[in-house]
Amino acid sequence: MTETLIQLAYLLAAFFFIMALRTLGRPETARRGMQLAAFGMAVAVLATLLPARIVSYDWLAVGAMIGAVVGYPLGMWVPMTAMPQRIALSHAFGALAATLVGVGEYTHGAATGSLARGHVLALGLEVLFGGLTVTGSLMAFGKLQEILPGRPVTFRGQNSMNLVLLAAAVIGLGWLIVSPNEVWVFAAMLAIAVLVGILFVLPIGGADMPVVVSLLNSYAGLAAVATGFAIDNNILIIVGALDGLSGFILSVAMSKAMNRSFANVLFGAFGSTEVGGVATASAGGKMSTTSAEDAALRLAYANRVIMVPGYGLAVSQAQHQIRELGDLIEKRGGDVRYAIHPVAGRMPGHMNVLLAEAGIPYDKLVDMDEINGRFSETDVAVVVGANDVVNPAARTNPASPIFGMPILKVSEAKSVLVLKRGKGKGFSGVENDLFVEPKTSILFGDARQSLLDLGLQVKGA
């Protein structure tokens, strides 16, 4: 009877979760949907607490309390700019939970000699995915939080070593299926997974983090699926599948947006390998600089303006300044949109959140595919702290390392204003033809200060 009740509660929760993901298709409905999901979660948890399988509650209260104390600040106090590392951290938490459950189930099963082959397969996959996600996510967290050096760390034979380790883990898994009670094999497999997690994120640099964070999301989901298989729990399978797929879809989208094949992402160390002889590209020519006064005058009298924020904007925390400038231009009758490249932030969709936080209505935040048709009718495109994602070489120069990467077609705008910190190259190390085009003028300086200056001048114009 209680068991049926629990299963019904799980069914209800699964229904609410899927509905919540559906409502995430539109910003107006999303909030409500997530509240329903939270309700579904509460129902599922309360049902589990019914005295069917659970006989002692003392430690449950302790665990819940610690979790709530840790979780509240992670929900309420973390600034939006720190979202990528916060998400990485919670991947680590999720995976750690799955791994520990796997270890607990295995040791209990090994002690009672009740391990069937299928069971061990699921538990093995659980600690494999779980273990590597825990350390991988902690590495990603460290890099994003800048506790660890953000640059890629590479050494010779890195990829072959990772492959050997992975193969060893798979052999271990096979061994366990043949003889389930070899505890040391299980332990070795877990140790390898933990090591692989570290080695896998080590060679990946800061700007490639959107792919890594998505991929770890996927692995955390797979660990949850394996948990579901191991303890025969359907809701874990459902949720794990949703989580894993969501992460997978996002990582494919991200690698596409960064012009890297999925395999390239997995066996990465990109930053270091791809930049090479071709980087000198085509464009000779000089950048023409401009002053805040002249640039502001053009903005003040423009009918259509598109802002192109890149990671440099987020680094200098200039989200509010770009919104103020946009508001001032709109007050003078200009139409302002914001073009968002998929990898403009440090994780999928990050730039949208930062700009929404600054108070820009979401209907002004336009995805790449949608806005690319509008550049040709745009008077001024303002590029703030973006480089590779607006480089026309990605479309025109087959010799360029970023050729084929989807970009914002800023070069089609009638004129382009680039706010740049210095004369440096983009992350890929490629020269940007856009910056030397005759219709492009460059305003050097810190993005935040430049936007402030422009705002002041537009107000006075």
């Binding site: 979660m41 948890v45 449950l60 929900g75 309420m76 998400i87 949720v239 599948a241 996002l250 968002i340």
Partner: protein
């Protein structure tokens, strides 16, 4: 075997659903799946609460704390983010807002 069916069907629904989510909301999506995946809490609850020995209780309790942290933090931060996404007020809404503001000012 039935688990495989569940997995495949959930995967199918997942692809259909997640592909419809615009890039605009990809960060909230990730936070949301994080929160939802805290459902692994039910597994750690069973492990920690079924008296299977000290090790199981200890591991289960740590796992439970992790899962609860993800649930609490995940739902809160998703809600915080989604609350920030606002539409441009339509002309009438903007008008109403002005009227509201002016009537407050008068009173």
């Amino acid at each position: 075997m039935i688990q495989l069916f569940v997995f495949l069907l959930a995967g199918f629904v997942g692809v259909q659903t997640i592909n419809r989510i615009p890039p605009l909301l990809h960060t909230p999506l990730m936070a949301a799946t994080n929160a939802i995946s805290g459902i692994s809490l039910v597994a750690s609850l069973v492990l920690a609460g079924s008296n299977e020995g000290v090790l199981a209780t200890a591991l289960g309790t740590i796992a439970e704390a992790c899962a609860v942290a993800n649930i609490v933090g995940g739902f809160l931060i998703t809600d915080r983010m989604l609350a920030m996404f606002k539409r441009t007020p339509t002309a009438t809404e903007a008008q109403q807002e002005r009227d509201g503001a002016s009537s407050v000012a008068k009173s």
